[in-house]
């Protein structure tokens, strides 16, 4: 397995180099950020001074070289807008986004798995058909529309939940989390559900398909013939087998939850990384955009590794297959 991982890491390095080049040069062609920062009262001399101070007067390849050399030392540059290290800004907002993503993932599993199992075990019942129809809605409705609807219904009309923001947080080992207060949870509920909706549908569909396929397999028939209880067949034999694709997909989807929860964070004014990214793009805060995308590459690489490991735990054949290499 270690050879496997080593090879994967080498590939990742190439991916990151390519990513750095594409992102850095790509963002350079969008526009001149100086015009986003300067105050209208400034004259041309002031503007040029700002350009020099931000290092934007230097040729692009020189800027890129400076970026690469400091990135290798762990410094991804300073935000133009905040004047602080770009990576620090992102990490500061990361707990909020991770919390949102984990909550969404949690909802996807606790709601998606049972519903999908039910729909797979009793495919012809009315309830199952309703579940499947609901999952189609979950796929096809645009996130921002659903988000606005949720705010209107649960915050404005019913007044049950707060509409925006993060609410009260508790310091857990230096990280601010809202999991542990009622106020925090109430703020978390709507954005997490909004973000989870698509993933719930995904889990339902995967679970149902897996269940229907597995129920026809010989090992299920054999287990039945042995006289095992239905709950043991479903809970152990069936679940263990259908979980593999679900874990794989959720692993990858978790990456996208973290990386691009932009829409949900914007609608619910959730102070996470997605909101930072979208605002940095609007303001052309190049160092933050570059740092963000570089970090996302790392996140995806790590997640893929973790998924592989979980995979091999669930299905020993993966381990054996790799040893054969």
């Amino acid at each position: 397995m270690s050879v496997f991982i080593l090879r994967r890491m080498l590939q990742s390095v190439f991916v990151m180099v390519a990513m750095a080049v594409i992102v850095f040069f790509g963002i350079h062609f969008v526009g001149d950020p100086v015009y986003m920062f300067v105050s209208p009262d400034m004259d041309q001399a002031d503007i040029e001074q700002v350009t020099r101070a931000l290092g934007l007067d230097r040729p692009i390849w020189e800027q890129f070289w400076a970026f690469v050399t400091s990135a290798l030392q762990g410094d991804l540059g300073q935000s133009f807008v905040f004047g602080e290290p770009a990576l620090g800004l992102i990490l500061e907002r990361m707990p909020a986004t991770l919390e949102l993503a984990f909550a969404a993932l949690f909802l996807a599993v606790v709601l998606g798995l049972p519903l999908g199992l039910y729909a797979g075990l009793y495919p012809d019942s009315g309830v199952s058909k309703t579940i499947m129809a609901g999952s189609i809605l979950g796929f096809s409705l645009p996130t921002f529309w659903v988000g606005i609807m949720m705010i209107m219904v649960f915050a404005v009309i019913l007044g049950w939940l707060p509409s925006t923001g993060r609410g009260e947080t508790v310091d857990v080992l230096g990280v601010e989390l809202s999991f542990f207060t009622l106020d925090g949870l109430s703020h978390l509920a709507l954005p997490a559900l909004n973000l989870a909706l698509l993933k719930i549908s995904l889990v339902i569909r995967l679970t149902r398909a897996g269940t229907r396929e597995a129920m026809l397999q010989d090992y299920i028939k054999f287990a039945r013939a042995k006289g095992l209880s239905r709950s043991r067949i479903v809970g152990v034999h069936l679940l263990k087998n259908i979980l593999i694709p679900v874990v794989t997909v959720l692993g990858l989807e978790f990456g996208s939850l973290v990386a691009f929860s932009v829409v949900t964070e914007t609608i619910f004014a959730w102070p996470g990384m997605g909101k930072l990214l979208i605002e940095s793009i609007q303001q052309l805060d190049r160092p933050v955009i570059v740092a963000y995308l570089m970090m996302i590459v790392v996140v995806f690489v790590v997640i893929n590794l973790l998924v592989d490991i979980v995979y091999s735990v669930l299905d020993p054949r993966v381990r054996l297959g790799d040893r054969g290499n």
């Binding site: 969008v30 950020p33 404005v156």
Partner: protein, 530 residues
């Protein structure tokens, strides 16, 4: 996104309006404001940017504080006057204390103006307002400011810079301000807490020299998306919001649990016209061939102005929230002309002018504009294009995000403004007419610092002369006349085509209202109980 979701909010909000009352806040003295954009730092000298200045107006005073119409009222200075052609004397307010209890004196003023232009990592600081001036402490409550030439805009400049404390602030880094260690001012509110992206909390300064504020604590919540801001107000999560999307205004007006506060802004929306190139890149002859730039002809520019129905834009695009413009600043501001009126809508007259200019069949033109900068900017550009089509100018529209737009509009591939006809806005930061005159109308001159935002490169030496005279005239009355004259000359020459002045809207829960400000800031001290 805003434009798609806003009607939805409107529909739903209306369905709900009879059934729902706004939730009550914790106590009457707490105020929560949903602001459209967030300050990037608590350091008042870090970035000369709207959201940052808005925040610093609550925590800090200036020597002269601009009121809601941008008239400079005594702040930490009780009076100011020129003692000779090149020296201004500021008498400081006695008995003022900072939030930490330390007294305010001339030392704080001197050190503030030393620090303000020199903040490390600042993307764009306050050096503009301070350069060319030397500061001298006469006694604890008298400061002299010297310039090389007569300088009438002294108060307007210094009224932009927040005064910080010598003991805490002047040696503080931006990080110290963000942490709350150095953020000590003399203003009506004290800094309490800053959670980036989520909230900024302020508390009343009971000892404020201008009287204690009515709000015990103030929480500023950044909510960028317009529909979310409206929803947060309707849900009772915030008491007041700024930047109400125009599409939601009719709905909110119909509700009896919401109060709207509206006021004209110092921002004029106008067209800049390429009038320096023989071949303008986005002007073509009918059929797409090259054509000598017709926009150089004053009659063509006049025709374009006549073709635009500013009333129609106000009624159909702006939901009534604009005031047709005939010059650079709305009435009531220093230096505006009383003789200028908005150009009346006159398509027939426009066609006649085109014929007289030798282009009776019009020409092809692309109008450029931003789509995320001003109220309904892209829609205005589209409306204007349709109106131009009516007089025979085949106008196309191209709008883009401001991050792309402004750098191309200022300096394209060859360092020159890239477009031919563009929609832009200008807010007069100084609160008087010299601000747009020197930036938009004066000939582009890098060394003099004139015409910085003159993206049409209009140039008229006679107008320049009047502007320069005004900029060194210390007598207020004479200066106002000169500014008005320069404005009249420029408008008659169609240096730019003014469209309208923006009207801004704040919405609050019933029982509160907001005193609108021309500088568009949302300040807790401007929120009043009815």
């Amino acid at each position: 996104m805003t434009s798609i979701t806003a009607p939805l909010v409107r529909a739903l909000a209306c369905a709900a309006c009879s059934a729902v009352a706004l939730a009550a806040p914790a106590t009457a003295e707490d105020l929560t404001i949903g602001v459209a954009s967030e300050a990037t730092s608590i350091d008042p000298h870090f970035h000369n940017l709207g959201p940052n200045n808005q925040l610093s107006f609550m925590i800090y005073d200036r020597l002269a504080n601009p009121d809601d119409r941008q008239n400079f009222k005594p702040g930490l200075a009780v009076s100011w006057q020129p003692v000779n052609d090149t020296t201004w004397e500021f008498k400081l307010r006695e008995g003022v204390t900072f939030h930490d209890g330390s007294p305010f004196t001339a030392d704080d003023v001197i050190c503030t103006f030393e620090r303000a232009p020199n903040v490390p990592n600042s993307p764009a600081g306050f050096g503009t307002y301070i350069k060319g001036k030397t500061f001298e402490k006469i006694d604890d409550f008298t400061v002299h400011v010297k310039t090389e030439a007569p300088y009438p805009l002294m108060v307007n400049d210094l009224g932009n810079v927040a005064i910080i404390s010598d003991e805490k602030g002047c040696s503080g880094t931006t990080q110290d301000f963000n942490d709350g260690v150095a953020s000590v001012g003399t203003g009506p509110f004290k800094f309490v807490e800053y959670v980036p992206g989520d909230r900024i909390v302020l508390a009343a300064n009971a000892d404020y020299w201008g009287g204690a504020p009515i709000w015990e604590t103030v929480t500023l919540k950044p909510i960028k998306a317009g529909p979310s801001r409206v929803a947060a107000l309707l849900a009772g999560d915030v008491d007041l919001i700024s930047g109400v999307p125009t599409t939601d205004i009719a709905t909110l007006k119909a509700r009896d649990d919401v109060t709207l506060s509206q006021g004209v802004s110092n921002r004029v929306i106008y067209l800049h016209i390429d009038q320096f190139r023989e071949n303008s890149p986005f002007v073509k002859a009918n059929g797409g061939g090259d054509i000598e730039n017709p926009l150089m002809d004053q009659r063509v520019r006049k025709a374009i102005s006549k073709a635009i129905s500013r009333e129609l834009i106000r009624d159909r695009v702006m939901e009534g929230l604009s005031i047709p413009a005939g010059q650079l600043l709305p009435e009531g501001f220093f230096g505006v002309s009383e003789n200028l009126q908005p150009e009346p809508y006159d398509p027939e007259g426009a066609k006649a002018l085109l014929a007289a200019a030798g282009v009776p069949d019009g020409f092809e033109l692309t109008i450029h504009g931003p789509n995320d900068r001003y109220l309904n900017d892209a829609k205005i550009v589209e409306a204007i294009a349709q109106m131009l089509n009516r007089i025979g100018i085949k106008a196309q529209v191209e709008t883009m995000p401001r991050s792309v737009y402004f750098s191309r509009a200022s300096s394209g591939a060859d360092g020159l403004p890239e477009f031919s006809l563009i929609l832009v806005g200008w807010g007069a930061g100084s609160g008087e007419a010299s601000s747009p005159l020197r930036a938009l109308i004066a000939s582009y001159d890098k060394d003099k610092g004139m015409g910085t935002a003159n993206r049409g490169r209009y140039s008229n030496p006679e107008v320049d002369a009047v502007i320069e005279e005004a900029l060194s005239e210390v007598d207020d009355e004479k200066r106002a006349d000169l500014l008005a004259r320069a404005t009249e000359m420029a408008i008659e020459d169609l240096a730019i085509i003014p469209i309208h002045y923006q009207v801004n809207t704040w919405a609050s829960k019933k029982g509160l209202s907001y005193i609108p400000r021309t500088d568009e800031y949302t300040l807790a001290q401007g929120v009043v109980k009815d």
